[in-house]
């Protein structure tokens, strides 16, 4: 008998006609690694919560979940806390205490474990996750990736048998995300922990998991191994979005045989194709018109005693272009954005917006019809109870979006999906009719479809003459919408090029498509471009 058996499970929220989960059945073996995929609103979180009795939401449940042979609802709060670990999306909000060591101790303290056992488990966990150096730190001083690792470690101190993760890497940069997923894989591989994870990052998850469950509108659309999934998909299937780039290119190019899942397998597939070396030569004339934003030899630090966050940073964003500033989390990209937007003052260097020094903008003139900055935490934008009130006075901005927000007008800004929230916030940022729009991590936490939508919005803004500066760690996203990209490192720009050159010249910090194709093709830095080279006249995904 399977470790977890879900039989004919349905769930309906109170005062809702539609079933959020509709007749779902699948089972999970002990020690397996299962990925749960699906678009936002497909019922992933609802399903995961049904597997953790304390977190079940009010509603009608039909069918049953057997956990180790017994109905899961018969577990006591204590048993559930001990046997089922749960890690959610937001790294910050899951913290309860102010110190890392206290956070690590929290689970066992709650379970009333004696001190000796707590000390021993914490020591073990610190060694396993290599977080000894964080032990004494305040939780607020950690980076997002570190926070999420601490959340995971804290849950693991109770030594659970099943680990449930609800989009744990949605708020992390790609490097931190793959480090986190690697930690989860190690737990699975080295301790035989059963893992159930919902995730948007197909690139890292799919090659590593044993089985995939795809949910669509509450139904299971697919249950099986990742290879079975890749084998069975047609090029026009919407589920190709849940595959890694290698498999997507393979399917779109009409490859035959076993579909590749990893970068390495993808490279092998390309090398076995009967292709002469090809390249895409796009005639890009960099639009070096007047600069919209110019930073010259800018130095910035937060404390007199601190170190330079920005050190000799020079950067020019030209009028009418989409510029992506890339780099890892905590490198100082957001600080650069704040300096550019006049929210922080550099101690040395020059900042000019549309040829005028920041000092020359008086009484907030800078933020009226000139520049607008949308921060990472869009929660800090919302003031009102409903989306409708929030967007009052933004009618013109609404017209700019190729997406209708009116159906959301009665909802609370916190109750809509991450992608929709990003669009509402963007609308507010556009209400002052900025000529320069700075977006800080706009693709953070968005699923594939929302990202595509956001790309369209940015491109349509560009066509209307708005200059856009994107601060991001998401290379794939930048590849789709930026004209030029820059790599931020050590407080300055390490490389700055047109997107095509940037992606082709970079070896590590570049898109999966570029890494897969780099030995045979050049300039194929998106799926679409790669497919176009492999299969002339072939369709795009």
């Amino acid at each position: 008998m399977a470790f977890i058996d879900i039989k004919g499970l349905s769930f309906t929220y109170p005062e809702s006609e539609k079933k959020a989960i509709d007749d779902v059945s699948f089972s999970i073996e002990r020690g397996s690694f299962t990925a749960l995929m699906g678009a936002t609103g497909s019922g992933k979180s609802t399903l995961l919560r049904l597997l953790k009795p304390e977190l079940r939401q009010n509603g009608t449940v039909l069918g049953e979940i057997l956990f180790d042979g017994a109905d899961i609802t018969t577990l006591s709060g204590r048993q559930s806390a001990e046997r089922i670990g749960y890690v959610a999306q937001n790294p910050d909000e899951q913290f309860v205490t102010d110190k890392v060591w206290h956070e690590l101790a929290f689970t066992l303290e709650s379970l009333g474990a004696p001190r000796d056992r707590i000390a021993r488990r914490i020591a073990e966990i610190c060694a396993f996750f290599d977080i000894d150096s964080l032990y004494q730190r305040s939780t607020s001083t950690l980076s997002g990736g570190q926070k999420q690792i601490i959340n995971l470690a804290s849950v693991m101190t109770a030594d659970p048998e099943l680990l449930i993760l609800d989009e744990p890497t949605a708020q992390l940069d790609p490097i931190a995300a793959s480090r986190f997923i690697e930690a989860v894989c190690r737990l699975n591989r080295e301790t035989g922990l059963t893992v159930l994870i919902s995730e948007h990052r197909a690139e890292e998850i799919l090659p590593r998991c044993d089985s995939v469950v795809i949910l669509e509108k509450g139904h299971t659309a697919f249950v099986g191994s990742p290879r079975e999934l890749a084998r069975g998909l047609e090029p026009d299937s919407p589920y190709t979005a849940y595959l890694p780039t290698a498999a997507r290119i393979f399917i779109a190019a009409g490859g035959s045989g076993e579909p590749p899942l990893t970068i390495r397998e993808g490279q092998r597939y390309i090398s076995e194709l009967d292709l002469t070396e090809k390249a895409i030569h796009e005639e890009i004339t960099p639009n070096k018109s007047e600069p919209a934003l110019e930073l010259k030899n800018v130095y910035f630090r937060y404390d007199k005693q601190g170190f330079d966050i920005l050190s000799d940073l020079s950067l020019t964003v030209y009028r009418g272009e989409v510029f992506a500033l890339l780099g890892s989390n905590g490198a100082g990209k957001s600080t650069a954005a704040c300096v550019g937007a006049g929210l922080l003052k550099p101690y040395s260097g020059k900042v000019q917006v549309f040829g005028k020094k920041l000092k020359e903008f008086r009484n907030g003139a800078l933020y009226k019809e000139c520049l607008s900055l949308l921060p990472q935490d869009v929660e800090s934008v919302f003031i009102h109870e409903t989306v409708g009130e929030e967007l009052k006075g933004c009618e013109e901005a609404l017209g700019l979006l190729p997406y209708d927000l009116t159906p959301l007008f009665d909802r609370h800004p916190y109750d809509i999906s991450g992608g929709e929230r990003q669009l509402v916030a963007l609308c507010k940022a556009l209400s002052t009719k900025p000529r320069l729009l700075i977006l800080d991590e706009p693709s953070k936490g968005l699923d594939v479809n929302s990202k595509r939508l956001l790309t369209d919005v940015i491109l349509s803004l560009k066509s209307q003459g708005v200059t856009v500066l994107i601060i991001s760690h998401d290379v794939e996203f930048a590849a789709l919408c930026a004209d030029r990209c820059a790599l931020f490192s050590q407080g300055r720009i390490a490389a700055c090029d047109t997107t095509a050159d940037f992606m082709s010249d970079n070896r590590f910090y570049t898109t999966a498509a570029s890494r897969i194709t780099r030995f045979k093709l050049s300039g194929a830095y998106t799926d679409e471009k790669a497919v176009r080279l492999i299969k002339p006249g072939g369709g795009a995904t």
Binding site: E54, A88, D98, H102, S110, G364, S380
Partner: protein, 289 residues
């Protein structure tokens, strides 16, 4: 023995209770003189008070010393008359002693807050009630979180052109809006914290309280030594006489009085002595290696 800051927090807390207790309840010139001098030495030694802090305390000392004779006209030795009110020597001396007490207590409190970090205070409370410990820890976390979010929201609202601080009314209105967003944000997301607590077994039974501190022999002997010295100091205090009004009568140097003062001086110097001893031991160890 370990460095003073490495002692178990309970030992540290007991120590400061003893020193502060004698400082605040004795009102005896000799003891307060010892307390003031040693408290300054301690704060200078561990650098817990900056130049600004010293200036502040000195000004406070002067004001406190002068205020008493200005308002209290008891005492037989009139120095001069101010607006027809007598300014007496007794009242001045009392004022100086009281000011010394305030200054010494301030220095000791500063030294204590440097020695007892939030972790340590929480550990002490956690011994009595794990719940109180958790509440303190959660509050400390929220203070940091609020500060950071307040700054973020302010920046956002400013960059979106929604925040004017051209005049006072607009600035206040802007602040109010930032606060309102902060509260919504925190309340809406507070549910995640609550769920995270529940998912990790909160309220599933009796809590324990973990802290990375243990009680060693050194802590127990330190507490015993502190209490013994305090006892001698109290006996000493009881065997001296301090009368300010109407005329001053001090009998400070009785045999017990001297013993008590010596014990108190030793008590006050314990942190410095322990740290110097450790430093010397460390030097010797290094030179041998």
């Amino acid at each position: 023995m370990k460095r003073f800051s490495d002692l178990n927090p309970i030992a540290t807390a007991v120590y400061y209770m003893c020193v502060l207790g004698i400082t605040m309840f004795s009102m005896q010139p000799l003891m307060l003189c010892i307390s003031l001098v040693t408290s300054i030495l301690t704060c200078v030694y561990d650098r817990s008070v900056k130049v600004k802090g010293h200036i502040f305390t000195a000004v406070l000392f002067l004001i406190a010393a002068v205020i008493n004779p200005l308002f209290v006209h008891n005492g037989v030795t009139v120095l001069f008359y101010l607006n027809d009110n007598p300014f007496t020597l007794e009242a001045l001396v009392y004022g100086i002693v009281a000011a010394g007490m305030i200054a010494a207590a301030l220095y000791w409190l500063r030294s204590m807050s440097a020695a007892l970090s939030s972790d340590k205070i929480m550990y002490i409370f956690g011994r009595f009630s794990p719940k109180i410990a958790l509440i303190i820890s959660m509050s400390l976390r929220y203070i940091g979180l609020f500060k950071e979010r307040f700054r973020k929201i302010q920046n956002t609202q400013r960059a979106l052109g929604l925040y004017d601080d051209g005049n006072l009314i607009d600035a206040l209105r802007g602040r109010a809006r930032v606060l309102s967003i902060l509260i919504t944000w925190t309340l809406e997301n507070g549910i995640v914290t609550a769920e995270s607590m529940e998912a990790r077994g909160y309220m599933s039974g009796r809590r324990t309280s973990y802290a990375p501190y243990r009680i060693h022999m050194a802590d127990i002997s330190f507490i015993a030594l502190s209490l013994a010295l305090t006892a001698i100091a109290i006996i000493g205090l009881r065997n001296t006489q301090t009368v300010f009004y109407p005329d001053m009568r001090f009998e400070l140097f009785t045999p017990w009085g001297i013993a008590g003062a010596a014990a108190f001086a030793l008590l006050c110097l314990l942190p410095i002595i322990i740290n110097i001893k450790e430093a010397v031991k460390w030097r010797l160890l290094i030179s041998k290696a």
